[in-house]
């Protein structure tokens, strides 16, 4: 292979990387190569600049006015906020089962969430999950900060039907779903997970099911799963 061909090869690879056309393995190999090769890094940066210019023709659109507030509430929970107190009413955690002792125990582990000292560390989620119904009738964004074990939920669409409840579940592998509680009507809420549940967050799936008022009577989802999404690392 001549130098020029190699150069072309590297340049095309950098472009493929910038476009996301490589397989996971190729991507990893490229990143490793880029880490020790300034020329490759420069080649990627050049492509990123040029491809980004494709968006010059995309017209800006103002996002909804409350979006910044939602993001800030997520990132900076604010120790002095009075809404801290109301979180319990926003996210009522009810023992999911009288008979499902395991699930009930799991819920009890998280039930003390609102009695903690307000957190002073900034909320810096490492994990996120997007729970979206097929028809977009329910859209919930979850973000999880492993340091504080705080799971934040932000619902941008959907609500429980009259006389029904939306219940949040954590599913790990083939294990039975563990209830994380009932979603109240407010759009934003947060829960602090127990150590056991926190350990299950990476690689888990969050799901929301339609349940009788107050939650599943059995400790397992009884109604249809309305939305679910894998927890992914940011």
């Amino acid at each position: 292979m001549t130098d020029a061909t190699e150069e072309h090869e590297a340049m095309a690879l950098a472009a493929e990387y910038a476009l996301g056309l490589l397989t996971a393995a190729e991507e990893k190999a490229f990143e490793d190569a880029m880490a020790v090769d300034p020329e490759l890094r420069a080649s990627y940066a050049q492509w990123a600049e040029d491809f980004a210019a494709i968006t010059d023709r995309i017209a800006p659109v103002a996002p909804p006015k409350d979006l910044l507030g939602r993001i800030e509430a997520m990132l900076f929970p604010g120790p002095a906020k009075t809404e801290k107190k109301s979180l319990l009413s926003r996210f009522t955690l009810l023992p999911a089962a009288l008979t499902g002792l395991v699930a009930a125990a799991a819920v009890l582990l998280v039930v003390n969430l609102d009695f903690q000292e307000p957190t002073t560390v900034p909320f810096a989620p490492e994990y996120t999950a997007q729970l979206t119904a097929d028809d977009q009738s329910l859209v919930v964004l979850a973000a999880y900060d492993a340091d504080s074990k705080v799971l934040r939920l932000d619902r941008s669409a959907g609500a429980a039907q009259v006389g029904r409840s939306l219940e949040l579940w954590l599913v790990v592998g083939d294990n039975a779903p563990v209830s994380l509680g009932i979603l109240a009507d407010a759009a934003a809420t947060e829960i602090t997970l127990s150590d056991n549940l926190a350990a299950d967050i990476p690689g888990g799936v969050l799901a929301i099911s339609d349940e009788p008022l107050g939650g599943s009577p059995t400790g397992s989802p009884t109604g249809s799963v309305l939305a679910a999404g894998p927890i992914t690392q940011l």
């Binding site: 890094r41 040029d50 210019a53 968006t55 023709r57 910044l68 810096a124 964004l141």
Partner: protein, 180 residues
């Protein structure tokens, strides 16, 4: 008017935890990034969620911005584009209905067809214009629709190896034009 230097300064301030800088950056850049999210995802609720996630990422990654060698807007656009493409691909694989997703994307003419090109975009547009139309189209689809080699091969009815070869050739041609 917010300059590149202003945005760079905001990111640097964010890296040391300056929340005011974060809200300034948001004010200066969110409409641009939201436009991109809408264009890629073609769904308002999803684009809003994506934007939220993008700014969470931007806040967290601010400290590593200096080392990546991208201009600040390119950095923000790339994070947005990649995040939206990840979402789009997840949506496609979740619904298992690639065709539907592709059709939605096809149906939207995209505001870029209407808006006036800004100065930097002219160069890439010119150079893309020098490629054969279907190849320029493939590059655009890869960038804005997140189409994979598999999808492109299906779309153009050619084998996977062929699509990769001709796209790579087109990219080399594109670079030659962009560098000239």
């Amino acid at each position: 008017m917010t300059t590149t230097a202003d945005i760079e300064a905001m990111i640097a301030q964010m890296a040391i935890g300056d929340r005011t800088a974060f809200s300034s950056l948001y004010s200066a850049t969110s409409a641009k990034l939201f436009g991109i999210g809408l264009r890629i995802l073609n769904n308002r609720a999803e684009a809003e969620d994506a934007l939220q996630e993008v700014y969470v990422k931007v806040w967290r990654k601010a400290a590593s911005y200096q080392v990546n060698g991208l201009s600040p807007m390119t950095w923000l656009i790339t994070i947005t584009r990649n995040h939206c493409i990840d979402r789009l691909r997840a949506r496609k694989s979740a619904t298992g209905d690639m065709n539907e997703a592709v059709d939605i994307a096809d149906a939207a003419p995209g505001p870029e067809a209407l808006a006036i090109a800004a100065s930097e975009g002219v160069r890439i547009a010119d150079c893309m214009g020098q490629l054969e139309p279907d190849r320029a189209d493939a590059v655009r689809r890869a960038y804005l629709e997140g189409e994979t080699y598999d999808e492109l091969a299906t779309r153009y009815g050619v084998p996977l190896n062929t699509i990769r070869t001709w796209l790579r050739r087109s990219l080399i041609k594109l670079r030659e034009c962009l560098s000239s």
